[in-house]
């Protein structure tokens, strides 16, 4: 049977939305409007400020902070959501985190506070580095110091873990809209063939923006969240196979454990914020084919490939061949990205991921890069130098690679590669940086590669310096 009404757990209580509710209403708009829960705030409606942070509670107890502004009602069907109003104890008393934040001068204007409290509540269980946890929450008043103090002392609570229903196919209709939630790959492919114009929605960190910020109301959406094949994540001896709809957060956790992927993990930890990584996916990064997609240069440097499927069959394509141009990829109208294969770098390979941006955390790259070098008898046997943000699409710098081929990895060789790079890339000037700066930085990253390779004893960048 197909579900036709959106239902989810909200602060521990089952909510069933009336038929005809637009499935692409943002969770934030619903909470603040019909939900009558205005504690969750709208600060930017573009998933950046975190004032709208709520927590997705998984059946295994995991807590994922997400931006309610980018999350659509159809996505939260069958899930459990907790908002700032849902943290009080059974007796109505404030949660210890709410008390601690208040008593430590962690609030001034208080507008960002509910979002920060929810991030803290998730962080108390999930742990990890504090700035990584807070990167998705902006505060304009406090200077963060008191908030960081509270984050340093968080303790997990024993709140009950929600019991979630088994995934079930669903189709939500509203005037002029239909929102499909298939639960098998076959059903997904059939829907895709029938609705080539539909939005393919996984995390929605990009498409959600079109609803939240641009106020679009898509006619057809196919949601990928219920399709198990797109959520598989497997580590194998020769690499990692990641379903296209696996959120970055899961990928990051795996990269941190898997030999060879640590540099990619360092980069992923800077992709968006916890809120974004809780929903955003590699499949989405590939689907939008953005010239500055953070994950694309590493995929190119690793020689990753994508598996595409349609009702007609399945094909495997190198990421380098999948990316075709400015926001253009090789996906046929009836195809979906099913998974991404990331070959494991050879233990002897030099593998480095770089990202230059105005702000370290939660920024879009001015220049992104990933370098992988295979040395044989001290000489460069093969080089993969991939860049983002310096041309119409993320791409390898073939001339710079050629300049390194067969040479010792010394300063001269990287200088030669830096010179050659000037004819590989064609950056533009915009608010993130001028063309001249982008070139200078891309070349600087090659010089930094030399430092990383030759002086592993030294911090190679400002983030690596420990005061």
């Amino acid at each position: 049977m197909i579900a036709t009404a959106i239902g989810f757990l909200l602060n521990g209580r089952q909510v069933s939305l009336p038929p005809g509710t637009s499935p692409t209403t943002s969770l934030l708009d619903w909470l603040r409007g019909p939900g009558a829960l205005p504690g969750t705030k709208e600060g930017c409606a573009e998933g950046d400020c975190g004032a709208c942070t709520v927590v997705l509670e998984a059946g295994d107890g995991a807590r994922t902070p997400i931006n309610a502004c980018l999350t659509l009602l159809g996505q939260v069907h069958g899930q459990a959501i907790r908002t700032v109003e849902g943290l009080r104890g059974a007796d109505g008393s404030p949660h210890p985190i709410q008390r601690a934040m208040a008593e430590s001068d962690g609030t001034q204007c208080g507008f960002c506070t509910p979002g920060i409290v929810m991030t803290a509540w998730a962080h108390a269980r999930e742990g990890g580095e504090v700035h990584e946890a807070l990167a998705g929450n902006l505060c304009r008043c406090t200077g963060y110091r008191p908030i960081l103090d509270v984050f340093a002392t968080l303790a997990d609570d024993a709140a009950a873990t929600p019991v979630l229903p088994a995934p079930q196919a669903a189709c939500f209709e509203a005037p002029g809209q239909v929102f499909h939630r298939p639960v098998t790959l076959a059903a997904l492919l059939a829907l895709r063939a029938a609705h080539p114009q539909a939005w393919l929605l996984a995390g929605g960190t990009d498409l959600g923006l079109r609803v939240s910020d641009h106020r679009e109301r898509p006619a057809e959406v196919i949601c990928l969240l219920g399709v198990p094949e797109l959520h598989a994540l497997r580590a194998m001896p020769d690499g990692i196979e990641a379903g296209a709809a696996v959120p970055y957060a899961r990928l990051l956790a795996l990269f941190r454990q898997e030999p060879g992927f640590a540099p990619f993990a360092t980069l992923l930890a800077r992709l968006g914020s916890r809120q974004i990584r809780g929903l955003g996916t590699l499949g989405g990064n590939l689907g939008t084919a953005s010239p500055i997609g953070d994950a694309l240069p590493p995929l190119l440097a690793l020689g990753a490939s994508v598996t595409l499927a349609s009702s007609r069959g399945t094909r495997v394509l190198a990421v380098a061949d999948f990316l075709r141009g400015y926001r253009v990829n090789d996906l046929a109208p009836d195809e979906v990205v099913v998974s991404v294969s990331l070959p494991r770098p050879d233990p002897a390979d030099i593998f480095v991921c770089e990202k230059i941006s105005k702000r370290h955390d939660q920024d879009i790259a001015t220049v992104g890069a990933a370098f992988r070098l295979r040395l044989a008898s001290d000489r460069v046997a093969e080089a993969w130098l991939a860049f983002g943000g310096v041309g119409p699409m993320a791409a390898r710098a073939k001339r710079a690679e050629a300049a390194l081929a067969g040479r010792r990895l010394d300063a001269d060789a990287l200088e030669a590669a830096a010179s050659a790079l000037a004819s590989d890339i064609a950056p533009l000037s915009d608010w993130r940086g001028t063309a001249a700066y982008r070139l200078m930085v891309a070349q600087g990253l090659l010089r930094r590669l030399h430092l990383r390779a030759s002086r592993p004893d030294l911090p190679a960048d400002v983030a690596g310096y420990d005061p």
Partner: protein
């Protein structure tokens, strides 16, 4: 009893963290509430020939489309002086200027309707840079000069001479809560406005002006703002006026809440500045003569640029003295959003001048900039202790805050350690920088230095406090309540803190210029003191003692002394006063004494007192990419005898980080057509938690009560610490060995400075 001086937390803190604190957009909407959306120009300069609203009017849910012809009063939302239209008519002067307002049954319908309005604009050549506007000699604030002595002669006679030019960018306020107002029509043409505003009285004036009514028909309230920082001083008024116009037309409540993008495009920001200066100096780095031009980008209209220029000029020498000086300030007119108040209000921009002078001269003399600055301190050997406009400054406090910051930061040891690091690391460079500030407190516009309060004591002994100040997170409400606690000798929980309302306290100044607690604290003090006097008389009669012998303390009223045998509970006395028909309600009023300013001669004593502070910051820079990080900051800030050290520390930390954003990562970027392209947090980067220095030592200057008669000898704290962030920019200069750095010092500017000027410096 926890009165003045106690480190009490923000009165709304627990409501903030539980989500109970209601901001304007959180209030339950009255039945029938309509929503409005602005139609904004996407042309920077032109003539509006037509506005095609037919498609919008035909859209579902759209109730009205309003333009300049629909305004019953004046199409004028100016805070000061010349008319500034609410809706362009017919001249369009910046990309983002409001052209019309669409009113609909839902916010989405209003936004879709606004997108469907087609403006026919004949473009004119836009002026998009300060340089171009200077060439054209077009200003919103004409050049004005503050001079003392003969700068030209002193420069000519000096052993050495230098000329320079640099720039500082603007800054978006990025209050987390965007601009919002809800206007509800009442009887007899009345309008009630709930607004997120730092200036309810101005909202009242502007709404009355636009509707063609009187102030007594407009009531404006504001319980709290989700941040203001100056951005809700004048800009809140026109947002409210637009909502009020729609409410008047439709007869229904109307909410206008700007989406972040619209807010960033249509509302003013911190003024960008261009600086040109010539200095004469000696080999010891003493500045002997200085001529400077500080040209602010005022944007398309005056707004409050006059005050910003005033503060920039009066703070251009900051903590330093130059005997012969001539500083000219102006605000040019460009086809850009009208720049407005932003925490510091031209003061931080002014102070940048002297820092540039000090750093370039230090490099030329091969001296540490700290030494050059100290040799030029007000009160240093051979230097005066009076500003060029004739106000005495406390040189001893300038020397003291610097000495303490230098000591706290372990300056000398770290200098050596940093030099050793820089000598060995191939690409990373660390740097140490400092800042010392002297910031004048009072509104530059003399008449704004006034405040009112209204205090009621109820017969059960509970107290209701209202004053003209607004709460934007800065902790004003709790500070003023602490003053009232102190007067009555009662605990804070006895006092109800209420929304700011023009119905309770009229004719108020904006909550701005750091003066909130100075002014409103005194006004509330005076109101409470009046009631206390009346209560004391009743108590004196009851006790049979002299009025002077009645003591208010510990929630009781005592005969002779607190803790003695005879007392009345505060509530008992309140009841007694009621029974004896004694008024328990009073207004209070305060105006700052002794300040004056002569605009013709540019002289006077415009500030009630100065606030002092000093900071040392350390940074690390990657010379390959320009990326940088602040590693440590030590701050000593003068708050006089702090009213609330917890709140004050929060202000210092927050102001510093906000200032650091202005000077490092926050960059406003307009395209060639004058359209702002950094219109949300995804493109405009304010500091995140990682950007805060991992070692961040903040200390209030001890044992330095204000020498002026401020409220409980406290000092203002909202704005001065913004200037301390200049220590980060100075540390970047130190790290890269280049004394000249345009701001904000993004990784790109740092790298360019390294590659360009760096080579030039190395050659001479």
């Amino acid at each position: 009893m926890k009165g003045a001086g106690a480190a009490l937390r923000h009165d709304s803190a627990l409501k903030h963290t539980t989500g109970e604190a209601r901001f304007a957009d959180d209030l339950a909407e009255a039945a029938g509430t309509l929503h409005a959306a602005l139609v904004l120009s996407d042309v920077a300069h032109g003539t509006l020939l037509s506005l095609d609203t037919e498609a919008a009017r035909a859209m579902p849910g759209v109730v009205a489309v309003l333009g300049p012809r629909d305004i019953p009063g004046a199409n004028d939302i100016a805070a000061i002086g010349q008319a500034e239209p609410l809706f362009a008519d017919p001249l369009v002067e910046f990309a983002g200027q409001p052209l019309a307002l669409v009113v609909a049954t839902t916010r989405d319908a209003a936004l879709l309707g606004a997108a469907a309005v087609r403006a026919g604009i004949t473009p004119l050549e836009p002026v998009l840079s300060i340089e171009r506007a200077l060439e054209l000699d077009q200003h919103v604030v004409a050049p004005q000069t503050m001079a003392r002595g003969d700068a030209a002669r002193a420069i000519a006679a000096a052993p050495r001479r230098m000329e320079a030019e640099f720039r500082a960018g603007g800054q978006e306020h990025f209050y987390l809560e965007g601009q919002v107002a809800i206007a509800s029509p009442g009887e007899d043409g009345e309008i009630a406005v709930v607004a997120s505003t730092q200036h309810p009285s101005e909202v009242q004036h502007v709404v009355a002006r636009v509707l063609g009514g009187a102030c007594n028909g407009v009531t404006v309230t504001c319980r709290r703002m989700g941040g203001g920082f100056g951005g809700k001083e004048s800009n809140a008024s026109w947002v409210a006026a637009a909502a009020a116009l729609a409410a008047r037309h439709t007869g229904r409540p109307v909410k206008l809440r700007l989406a972040r993008r619209a807010d960033m495009i249509a509302t003013g920001k911190r003024h960008p500045f261009l600086y040109r200066w010539t200095a004469g100096f000696d080999d010891q780095g003493r500045v002997l003569g200085l001529q400077a031009l500080l040209a602010a980008d005022g944007g398309w209209s005056l707004d409050m640029s006059g005050g910003v220029v005033f503060r920039a000029i009066t703070h251009a020498l900051n903590c330093c003295d130059v005997a012969d000086v001539s500083v000219t300030g102006c605000a040019v007119k460009t086809n850009t959003v009208s720049h407005t108040a932003f925490r510091g209000f031209g003061g931080p921009q002014g102070a940048l001048l002297m820092e540039d002078v000090v750093h370039r001269i230090a490099a030329a003399c091969r001296l540490p900039p700290e030494e050059v600055r100290a040799r030029n301190f007000l009160g240093a050997a051979g230097k005066g202790e009076e500003t060029p406009y004739g106000q005495k400054v406390e040189g001893d406090l300038i020397a003291r805050v610097w000495a303490e910051a230098k000591r706290d930061s372990d300056w000398d040891r770290r200098r050596g350690e940093i030099a050793a690091f820089n000598a060995t690391h191939p690409t990373l460079r660390r740097g140490l920088g400092s800042m010392v500030l002297a910031f004048g407190i009072s509104f530059g516009v003399m008449h704004l230095n006034q405040a009112g309060a209204l205090v009621h004591v109820y017969s059960d002994g509970s107290i209701r406090l209202a004053h003209g100040g607004t709460e934007m997170g800065q902790g004003l409400f709790v500070k003023v309540a602490q003053v009232v606690c102190d007067v009555f000798g009662v605990d804070l929980d006895r006092i109800a803190i209420t929304a700011t309302s023009t119905a309770e306290v009229p004719n108020t100044a904006p909550t701005a210029a750091s003066t909130g607690s100075d002014l409103n604290g005194w006004a509330a003090h005076n109101a409470a003191q009046t009631i206390k006097g009346r209560m004391a008389e009743v108590a004196a009669r009851r006790f049979g003692i002299a009025v002077e012998a009645v003591v208010f303390a510990d929630n009781r009223v005592w005969a002779e002394q607190a803790g003695g045998n005879r007392f009345l509970e505060f509530a008992e006395l309140a009841k007694l006063c009621f029974l004896e028909r004694v008024s328990l309600s009073s207004t209070g009023f305060y105006r700052t004494p002794d300040i004056h300013w002569d605009r013709a001669t540019m002289r006077g004593e415009p500030f009630f007192y100065f606030s002092y502070g000093a900071a040392v910051s350390e940074v690390i820079v990657d010379t390959l990419t320009g990326e940088h990080r602040c590693l440590r900051t030590d701050i000593v800030q003068d708050c006089g005898r702090s009213l609330n050290p917890a709140v004050d520390r929060g202000q210092i930390e927050g102001a510093f980080v906000q200032g650091m954003g202005w000077l490092t990562c926050e960059e406003l970027w307009w395209d060639g057509q004058g359209r702002l392209r950094t219109v949300g947090p995804s493109t405009y980067k304010i500091p995140g938690s990682r950007d805060v220095p991992p070692i961040f030592n903040v200390r209030l200057l001890e044992g330095a009560p204000a020498r002026s008669e401020t409220i409980f000898r406290s000092k203002a704290v909202g704005e001065p610490p913004v200037l301390l962030a200049i220590s980060v920019a100075n540390a970047l200069k130190d790290a890269i060995g280049v004394p000249a750095l345009d701001l904000p010092a993004t990784p790109e500017r740092v790298l360019m400075a390294l590659r360009g000027d760096g080579e030039k410096i190395a050659r001479d």
